[in-house]
Amino acid sequence: MTDKSMNSVDKARRNLLKGGAAAAVVTLAPGVTLQTVQAAVTGPATSAKRWGMLVDANAPEGVWDLAVEACKAEQGWGKTENVNQATDPQWIRKVSIKDPKTGAKATLPVMCQHCAKPPCVDVCPTGASMKRADGIVLVDKHICIGCRFCMMACPYSCRSFVHEDVRGQKPHMPRGKGTVEACTMCVHRVDKGQKPACVDAVNAAGSNAIIFGDLNDPNSDIARAVSKFVTQRIRSDLGVEPGIHYRGI
């Protein structure tokens, strides 16, 4: 037996001991079983990966509306009832910019930039604002006290405070009054091997305006694109090293 196969056996044993890979098996009769489900434990997130996005601001403006609507539908924010429009949560925004000297215009989506050195995490008094090992920045709403320091600290104004009661939340995205929230880079989808909802929506429209992937993997689409094109990160002078890269701004 080679070392490699030993490792895989050990892994399987560990999963079995953790109770994760155990399938629910119903005994119909002696020797006859019905296997109902095969659950597997995934994770933990490791620093070997660095999830990021590359946004092409030269793409036609219409795709960003698709991205915003997809985010609303996936995460359950952006409802119009029982909401004060002045303070409603916004996880992703379509932002238009114009260079006053040249008149050049661009429209781009701005969401949590998933910084490598996130200021929101630095200032959080409870540890609720946190960065996963794979670079995704999240709010642990279980211990968020709603102080909004992180909203003050974020250079991109990408966090929102929930001012109103929330109803009809998604099972994968609990949301509640009195906590701060922001783009999660669809962590629930990423952990399943899927792309974030905004990326899927843009891709489904036949556009490649947002590329999602692992920046640490030199063979990934995003790593190749980032090495091929000149990209920029918003306010890179701050040194917070965002995971969201932009082209054409």
Partner: protein, 161 residues
């Protein structure tokens, strides 16, 4: 400083005596309040742990795993609030006019009895949706479910074993 520490120690002693006094003078009167009677699981025959373990420790399981899921990204482990919803969500006139299955009435039954007030449902809806948990692989109204139940009954393997 010395007087402050003396006051502190007296306070601690006072609380300890008070606790002992309460324990002796007012034992739990089981007859006063009706015992909780939570609904039977909507799906499945056996919880992820024996019933007595779940009653005493379910919050520890959930709290421990929620941190691992959110902060470390470990998913698909044994304990999951969504799996609770999958099996234990029931219809109740108190929630959405009895139109949806939710976990709230099930939790409320014992939490009211024990005067426990937690705010899971401020953020988690507790509403059952298709595919929310592992049991959903087999719908409760699936023909096979009845067949299994009938066969199990026939073989003398009840829900308690």
């Amino acid at each position: 400083m010395r007087s402050a520490s003396r006051i502190l120690s007296l306070t601690v002693l006072g609380f300890a005596l008070l606790a002992i006094g309460l324990g002796i003078s007012s034992p739990a009167q089981a007859g006063d309040v009706p015992l909780p009677n939570p609904a039977k699981a909507f799906k499945g025959e056996q919880c992820v742990e024996p019933n007595d373990v779940m009653r005493r420790n379910h919050f520890e399981f959930l709290k421990h795993q929620r941190d691992e899921t959110l902060r470390e990204g470990i998913r698909g482990q044994k304990y999951s609030l969504n799996d609770c919803v999958d099996c234990h969500a029931v219809k109740s006139p108190d929630v959405a006019g009895g139109k949806v299955r939710t976990l709230k009435p099930f939790c409320k039954e014992c939490h009211d009895y024990a005067a426990v007030s937690i705010d899971c449902f401020a953020c988690h809806t507790g509403a059952a949706v298709p595919g929310i948990g592992k049991q959903s692989a087999l719908p409760s109204n699936h023909d096979v479910t009845n067949a299994i139940a009938a066969l199990e009954k026939h073989l003398g393997k009840g829900a308690d074993q």
